[in-house]
Subunit: 212 residues, 2 copies
DNA sequence: GGCAACATACCAACCAGTCTGTATGATAAC
DNA sequence: GTTATCATACAGACTGGTTGGTATGTTGCC
């Protein structure tokens, strides 16, 4: 379960531990990140850590939740949300993702959800399930706009908004992975443009495309 | 560097160790797989392991190479290679991937390249680079057919075969990741169909599509 | 007899988690 | 308003198990 309302009132120390966990585990993964590292990174000692978390595992759950909530919040507040046309929101989302990734030069730090899904799915059922939920919610977020846009502009078109949304989540996650290996975000940028082009073909040329 | 010609003549014991490494690390990742596990899985003791490998790290490199070579061999031998029409080969590849994944029910064990890329890119430069090379080669394999097909059927079309190939690698890797988290291959299957649909839009309706 | 191909025992480092201690602030008693 | 009580929030030393790697055999083949 990803609990909302967990953001507002975290003790300072606990929040620092979670943040350190997010940062370190994004880069090194779960197993390669030690509790001691998290502690020193957060400026806390072991006593502090285990005062707030029963185990390393539990911190990982908190880190995943915090990471997801943070991203969800970013997207909830993003400018493209205010667009009235659903298809504008779809393309606006792509623009927003591109912008938040930064230029091809800037290194992306990776997605904690993807990291955990890859590393822990076969060994940690709880975290696997949490990753699944986070990924599905991300897809669902796009799906809503896609359903609306389809009803409005291409009601008879032969595509499934849910599947297209999962396709979106897939190439983003895969793009992040390839970007890590290639030490370049160029792939991610290009992927988004390919997806944009695909969406344009699905919606015909009924609408103007996203800018830039 | 991924060395070819490493497949033919491996000592039986060494081969078993590498195979065990591939199997275990595909599921659990690098850090969560212990040398002892690999040994017992291969029916060898520690002495045997360190007789053939200087370190766990070196086995991982061998495992990655073997995994890639195996996959490359599969694709090199696949029936779609014999098709004379490049666009047929492109769609034939998609059919082949679908078939080798199996039905949505069957669980995919994941791609070692993706696992290593995710887990080790920031901590192990050598393996990161090896993953990059493996991913790029995979993309390049499709790219060749795509270039030919474009020259033949859509020479003026506005798409970049290299970028489309990396898009392909991305959604496959991302699809595998999501499939792990969701414990279902359905996403992968759907992704391939979406990509097929995208390719059809890129090539217009000039050619028949790949068969089911 | 010498070397490759292992087996077995062993070790030192590491690491998640524990235990005990202490500082601080709230609360209650008087 | 001062002291006793207690809980929270940590600090820091410690531990037991794990793990990558080593050192020392032993066996069979050329």
């Amino acid at each position: 379960m990803i609990t909302r309302n967990s953001i507002p009132e975290l003790p300072e120390t606990k929040r620092k531990l979670v943040d350190a966990g997010v940062t370190l585990m994004r880069a090194r993964g779960y197993n390669a990140t030690t509790v001691d590292e998290i502690c020193s990174n957060a400026g806390v000692t072991k006593g502090g850590f285990f005062h707030y978390f029963k185990s390393k595992d539990e911190l990982a759950k908190a880190a995943l939740a915090r990471f997801y909530e943070g991203k969800a919040q970013d997207f909830a507040d993003a400018p493209f949300r205010k667009l009235v046309d659903p298809l504008d929101r779809v393309f606006g989302r792509l623009d927003y993702v591109k912008k938040s990734i930064g230029g091809p030069a800037q290194l992306t730090k990776g997605c904690l959800i993807g990291v955990f899904a890859q590393e822990l799915s076969f060994t940690n059922p709880e975290l696997r399930s949490a990753c699944q939920e986070a990924l599905l919610r991300t897809a669902n977020d796009l799906e809503k706009d896609l359903v609306e846009a389809k009803a409005l502009y291409a009601p008879t078109a032969d595509f499934n908004p849910k599947k297209v949304s999962l396709f979106y989540v897939s190439f983003i996650q895969g793009g992040l992975l390839v970007a890590k290996a290639a030490e370049s975000n160029a792939v991610l940028m290009d992927n988004i443009e390919n997806f944009r082009s695909y969406l344009q073909s699905l919606f015909g040329s009924t609408k103007k495309v996203g800018k830039k």
